[in-house]
Amino acid sequence: MGFKIIMPRIRRELYNKEICACSIFGAMNRDGERFTGASVMKAIANMRVRGNGLGGGFAAYGIYPEYKDYYAFHLMFTGKGPHAKFFAKKELDAFLSQYFDIVYDEEIPHGDEATVSDPPLVWRYFALPKKQDRDTMLTDEDYIVDKVMWVNAKIENAYVFSSGKNMGCFKGVGYPEEIGEYFMLDKLYKAHTWTAHGRFPTNTQAWWGGAHPFSLLDTTIVHNGEVSSYGTNRWYLEMYGYACNLQTDTEVIAYAVDLLMRRQKLPIEIVAKILAPPIWNAIDQMNEKEKKLLTTLRMVYGPLLMNGPFAVIIGQTGKMIGLTDRIRLRPITAATNGEMFYLSSEEAAIRLISPQLDRVWTPNGGEPVVGELNNMRKVLQ
C-alpha cells in the first residue's frame, strides 16, 4: 500500500462516462495448451449484432513465452498525423528508459491500415523495473501500476493497452473480427486463454483506447453493461490512488479487481460477493457465520458494489472468471468441453466453434464462474 498518486482532481467532476452494450467471449484451455485466436475471432464475429463496429478487442494469455519474465507493455500512440504519434512515442520512450530496463521493443505487426479507421501507432516493449530512490520501497507490481497511471494521466497521446507478463491486449475501433485480422491474431499468436469483446457504444466518439479489454498488470476485463454506481466506485478507488481517466465505467471494475485481489489479497469468491453481493433478505436468513461475513463485506466494501447491469469476463494469469450483476440484468453462459472452458454472451457463439459440449449452464446473478489452469507450472516454464 506504499504508493500514492497525486491526481489532478477537477473540482466539478466533469468526467464523461461512456455508455455501451456489448458482446463478450472467453475461451480457455485448462491444460495450458495454446491455440490461435482464429476460433475466438469466429465466435465473437457470430455476435456481430451485439456491437456496432465502434470497438473490438482481445486479451491473450501465454503469447510471449520467450519473454515470460518481462513485463510486456502494449502502448498506443495517437494524434493527428505521424508526427504527433512519433512525438508521443518519443516522450514515452524517454519516460520508459528512465524507469525501466527495456530488453526488446518493436512495433506490433499489423495488416493493411486501410482496413481499419484511423489506426494509432501500437508498440510493444519488454521491460524490467529500474527502481530508484523512494520507489525501491515498492513491490514490482505497485511500481508498474504507479507508472502506468502516470503514463495514462500525464503523457499526452500515449495510452497503455496492457502491462502484464506473458500476455497482451489488442484492441481498436472496428468490429472485433476486423481488429483480430488487423493484428493477425489468427496467425501470429498462440494463447491458452483468450477473451474478446465487441462494442456498441451509444455515442459516436470512438477511440482506440476506449475499446475493451481494460487491463492493469495481468488483469483484463471485458465488460457488457453500464455501471450506475460509477460515481461512488470512482471516489472510493481514487482514495486508494487509482486515477480514473479513461472515460469509461469499465476501468472501475479493473481497478476494483486489482485493489481487492492483488493488493488486499482476497480470493475471487469473496471479491464476487463484494462486486455483486447477495440481497439483505437473503443474508438475514443465512447461518450466523455466513451472515457475519457477508454483512461485514457489505459494510466495509459497500462503495465497491457494482450497481446496474453488467456481465464481465475477468482474465488473469491462469484464471478466467465470469460474473454478472446481483440481479443478472446482462447475459452470460458458461460451458465446458473436455479441457476447454468457455464463457459467452450467447450460447450460439460457443456452439459455433464447439458444437459438442459436456456441460452448458447459466450462472446465477452474482455467482462467479471460475476456470483455472490445471497445471500452472506448464505455463510458467
Partner: protein
C-alpha cells in the same frame, strides 16, 4: 408602554357558522379567544395570535380563518415589515429577540436547484414493487481493508470492526431534548424510531429512566455542554453517543431552558433542581481545542467499553470541513453536520437568521474533503438542517451523506405548524411545552403512527427514485454526484456541490 407593532395575523370568524362552543377558547394557550356571555359570542384578540392554526383546525364548524394581517407599513425594499417590527419590539423591550424553529429567510435552497437522473434504454430502471430495493445503512467507522484467513475453504474475518449503527432507512430523528419538547412528543419519537428500524436522538436533556430499557435500543444519547442527565447507565443503554458541539440554528452559542419548563420530571431526568434554568454553556468548558475533544471522545469510548460509535455534531460554518477532518482524526465515528436551516426550541433571531452555511454545500465539501484526505471510510456523515422531503434525502446522499437527521419534519408530522413560538412553552399542539394540559393533547400512539407513516412514505419514495436510476442499493448512490445536475446555479455553486449543470 403602548406597543407600536400591529397584529401579525387577522382572525376572521364566520358568525353564521360559529356555534359558540368555546372550543377555540380552550384550544388557545395564548388566550386569543374569549367568550362574552352578554353578547353570547366569541371575541378574538388578534394581538396575541401566533398563527399556529390550532383553533382553525379544531373548530368543529370550520368557522375560523387566520391569515396574515393585510395591514402594511409603507412598502420599502430596505425596511421590510419584519425589520420594522423587530426594531420596534426591541425599542419597547431592550431585549434580544428570541425565536424558534429554523431560519425562514430566503437563502437559496439548493435542493430545489438540483435534479435527479433516471435510466433510459442503456440500463434498465428497476421496479421497487417487484425487485428488492435496499436502503439499509451502517453508520460508523469502516476499516480501509478487510483481512481474512482461509482454512479448508472456511473464511474467517481477521479484521476487527468498529461498532456501527444499522438503520433500515437512512432517516434518523434529530436531537430534540425532553424539556424542550414534551414527554409525549419525546416518547412518540422514541416509539416511532423503534418501530421503523431507525434511531431517535435524546438531545441534551437526558433519557427518563423508565424509557431506557424499552427505547435504549433505538436511542442515540447526547452529551452536551450542560452535561444534563448523564450517568453510566444513560450512556450504556443507548446504541450511540453524540457529543453536541454546535447546532445549525445557533452556531456558537449554548442553550437556555427556562425554569418554568423544568417540571419535576424534567428536573429528575436532567438531574437539576426543579424550576431552575437549565443553561448549556456556549462551549464545552472542558473542550477548548481539538485535543480536548479527542479526550472526551475516548472518555466516552472507555465509559461504553468501545461498544458504541461516538458521533460529534457540529454546525456547518465557514471552515467546518477542515475542523471535521480533525474531529475524525480525533476518533469520532460519525460526524453530524447541522446546516443553516436547522431548527431549535429557542435561539436569538439574529443568530438563527445569519450564522452558518446551507447544508447542501456543507455535505458536498465535507465529503470531498474527507475523500481528498483518504479518511472517508473512517467516519459516516449524518446531515441535518433543512431536510423537507424524500428527494432532499436522496440528494443529500448523492452529495455524500450517509444518512440524514430530521427534526422540523418530524415535528410537522406530529402537528407542528412552524409558528416559531417554541420558546414560549405554550405550544398549542402539545409538542414544545411542559404544561400538562397542553402536552396531554399529543397522543403517543397517534403521533408515533404519524411519524412512522412518514418514514415509511419517504422510504417508498426513495426506493422509487433509486429504482428509476437503475440502482438497487443505497450505498451505490452515496457520493455519486453523477446522478445529480444543477439548474439555475452559478459556476462556483456547481463547483462546491461537485455537480454538472443540467444538460452538461
Amino acid at each position: 408602554m403602548k406597543s407600536f407593532v400591529f397584529p401579525e395575523f387577522q382572525i376572521i370568524r364566520d358568525e353564521e357558522k360559529c356555534g359558540q362552543c368555546r372550543g377555540c377558547e380552550r384550544q388557545c394557550a395564548f388566550g386569543v379567544h374569549t367568550y362574552d356571555p352578554v353578547a353570547d359570542r366569541l371575541i378574538s384578540d388578534e394581538r396575541k395570535c401566533v398563527g399556529c392554526q390550532r383553533c382553525v383546525i379544531f373548530c368543529p364548524e370550520n368557522a375560523i380563518t387566520v391569515r396574515p394581517s393585510p395591514s402594511f407599513y409603507r412598502p420599502n425594499a430596505s425596511w421590510s415589515r419584519e425589520k420594522l417590527e423587530d426594531l420596534k419590539k426591541q425599542a419597547e423591550t431592550g431585549g434580544v429577540l428570541l425565536t424558534g424553529c429554523g431560519n425562514d429567510k430566503p437563502f437559496r435552497i439548493y435542493w430545489d436547484h438540483i435534479v435527479l437522473n433516471a435510466s433510459q434504454v442503456t440500463n434498465p430502471s428497476i421496479d421497487p414493487l417487484r425487485e428488492p430495493m435496499e436502503l439499509r445503512t451502517f453508520l460508523g467507522a469502516k476499516p480501509d481493508l478487510m483481512e481474512i484467513s482461509t482454512e479448508d475453504g472456511d473464511v474467517q474475518i481477521k479484521t476487527e470492526l468498529s461498532p456501527n449503527l444499522m438503520v433500515e432507512t437512512p432517516i434518523l430523528f434529530s436531537a430534540m431534548s425532553y424539556g424542550a419538547i414534551s414527554y409525549n412528543a419525546f416518547r412518540s419519537l422514541a416509539t416511532a424510531a423503534c418501530k421503523s428500524g431507525t434511531y431517535f436522538n435524546t438531545g441534551e436533556g437526558g433519557l427518563p429512566r423508565e424509557m431506557r430499557e424499552t427505547f435504549g435500543k433505538c436511542a442515540i444519547v447526547q452529551v452536551a455542554s450542560g452535561r444534563f442527565g448523564i450517568d453510566a447507565e444513560y450512556l450504556n443503554c443507548a446504541q450511540a453517543v453524540e457529543i453536541k458541539v454546535g447546532q445549525g440554528a445557533k452556531p456558537g452559542i449554548g442553550g437556555h431552558l427556562p425554569g418554568e419548563k423544568v417540571s419535576a420530571e424534567v428536573a429528575e431526568t436532567r438531574m437539576i433542581p426543579m424550576g431552575a434554568d437549565a443553561i448549556s454553556p456556549a462551549p464545552h468548558h472542558d473542550i477548548y481545542s481539538i485535543e480536548d475533544l479527542s479526550m472526551l471522545i475516548y472518555a466516552l469510548k472507555e465509559a461504553t467499553n468501545y461498544e458504541k460509535p461516538i458521533s460529534v455534531k457540529i454546525a456547518a460554518v465557514h471552515n467546518f470541513a477542515a475542523i471535521a477532518t480533525g474531529i475524525v482524526r480525533a476518533g469520532a465515528d460519525i460526524i453530524a453536520i447541522d446546516g443553516l436551516r436547522g431548527g431549535t426550541g429557542a435561539a436569538p433571531k439574529a443568530i438563527r437568521d445569519n450564522v452558518g452555511i446551507p447544508i447542501e454545500l456543507a455535505i458536498s465539501s465535507l465529503d470531498r474533503r474527507l475523500r481528498d484526505e483518504c479518511i472517508r471510510n473512517r467516519c459516516s456523515i449524518i446531515a441535518a438542517g433543512g431536510i423537507r422531503c424524500s428527494p432532499d434525502v436522496i440528494k443529500a446522499i448523492a452529495l455524500g451523506a450517509d444518512a440524514v437527521y430530521i427534526g422540523s419534519a418530524a415535528l410537522i408530522a406530529m402537528g407542528c405548524t412552524l409558528c416559531q413560538k417554541c420558546y414560549t412553552g405554550k405550544c398549542n399542539w402539545g409538542i414544545c411545552t411542559q404544561d400538562p394540559r397542553l402536552s396531554g393533547r399529543l397522543n403517543v400512539d397517534i403521533a408515533s403512527q404519524r411519524l412512522s407513516n412518514l418514514i415509511t412514505a419517504w422510504s417508498h419514495e426513495i426506493a422509487e427514485m433509486l429504482g428509476g436510476m437503475g440502482i438497487n442499493a443505497l450505498e451505490s448512490l452515496r457520493g455519486n454526484r453523477d446522478h445529480l445536475r444543477g439548474v439555475g446555479l452559478h459556476e462556483w455553486e456547481l463547483d462546491v456541490l461537485g455537480i454538472k449543470g443540467a444538460g452538461e
